[in-house]
């Protein structure tokens, strides 16, 4: 039996009892399939990166469990029928199951870029593949995974496209 994890997002109007009901429902399915729940992580209410069914927030929960594949299918089936589940995703268990640090999504925390235009993701395209990027793409490369903070320095140099 493999270990899996399911993250589901509940409608923000669901109360604590409702959350526990869903957790219980998943646990039942897992137990019914001779699996076992190894952990429940309530991330709580968080802002969604984009609205889902007209709501901006969702209540996140992650459940880790060991089970056979039919259990996964059953969980998926039940979630799909459940109106209060905005989203769900089951994957192999990996990484830190606790609530991620979401603050970084907030633009303000990313260095007050406010309404500054995009630097033009693809503005560079026309310049061909000739490797121009080593010069002016330097920032981008760092940005991809570099230490934080480089983005800020880019300033208004990038072409805008609006």
């Amino acid at each position: 039996m493999r270990e899996y994890e399911t993250v589901f997002i509940l409608h923000p109007q669901v109360d604590d009892a409702g959350i526990d009901r869903e957790i219980e429902a998943v646990s039942q399915i897992v137990a019914g399939g001779k699996g076992e729940v190894s952990g429940v992580y309530k991330w709580g209410r968080r802002r969604l990166a984009y609205p889902i069914r007209k709501v901006q927030d969702g209540v996140y929960t992650l459940i880790r469990f060991r089970a056979e594949p039919p259990v996964l299918r059953e969980i998926d089936r039940r979630f799909k029928m459940n109106e209060s589940i905005l989203r769900h995703l089951t994957t192999h268990a990996s990484g830190d199951p606790t609530a991620p640090d979401f603050r970084s999504r907030d633009r303000r925390d990313r260095g007050d870029r406010g309404d500054r235009g995009d630097r033009g993701d693809r503005g560079d395209r026309g310049r061909g593949r000739g490797g121009r990027f080593d010069d002016d793409g330097g920032d981008d490369a760092d940005e991809a995974f570099g230490r934080e903070g480089r983005r800020r320095s880019r300033g208004a140099s990038g072409p805008r496209d609006e």
Binding site: G58, L89, S94, G95, D96, R129, E148
Partner: protein
């Protein structure tokens, strides 16, 4: 009028190295929102390998993680300002 021979500015191509390899990152998790935010552009697109310098296995992991995180509304498909 002879074309002035423009001296091509000597741009030494530097070999990009995969930062994830340098940092010995083994697994990229879709829940690692901080990291994923840095793997996408302002628009929300995945930073291409030619820019990020990621190696193939790492880029594949990044891509997968970004897509999962998008499904769970942890990161945007398209940045707010462009919707």
């Amino acid at each position: 009028m002879a074309k002035t021979v423009k001296k091509k500015s000597a741009r030494v191509p530097r070999r990009k190295v995969c930062k994830l390899c340098l940092d010995r990152v083994e697994q990229i998790d879709y829940k690692d929102e901080r990291r994923l935010m840095r793997a996408i552009t302002d628009r929300g697109k995945i930073v291409p390998r030619r820019i990020s310098g990621n190696c193939t296995p790492h880029q594949a992991q990044v891509t997968r993680a970004v897509k999962r995180a998008r499904i769970l509304a942890m990161i945007p498909f398209v940045a707010d300002s462009y919707r």
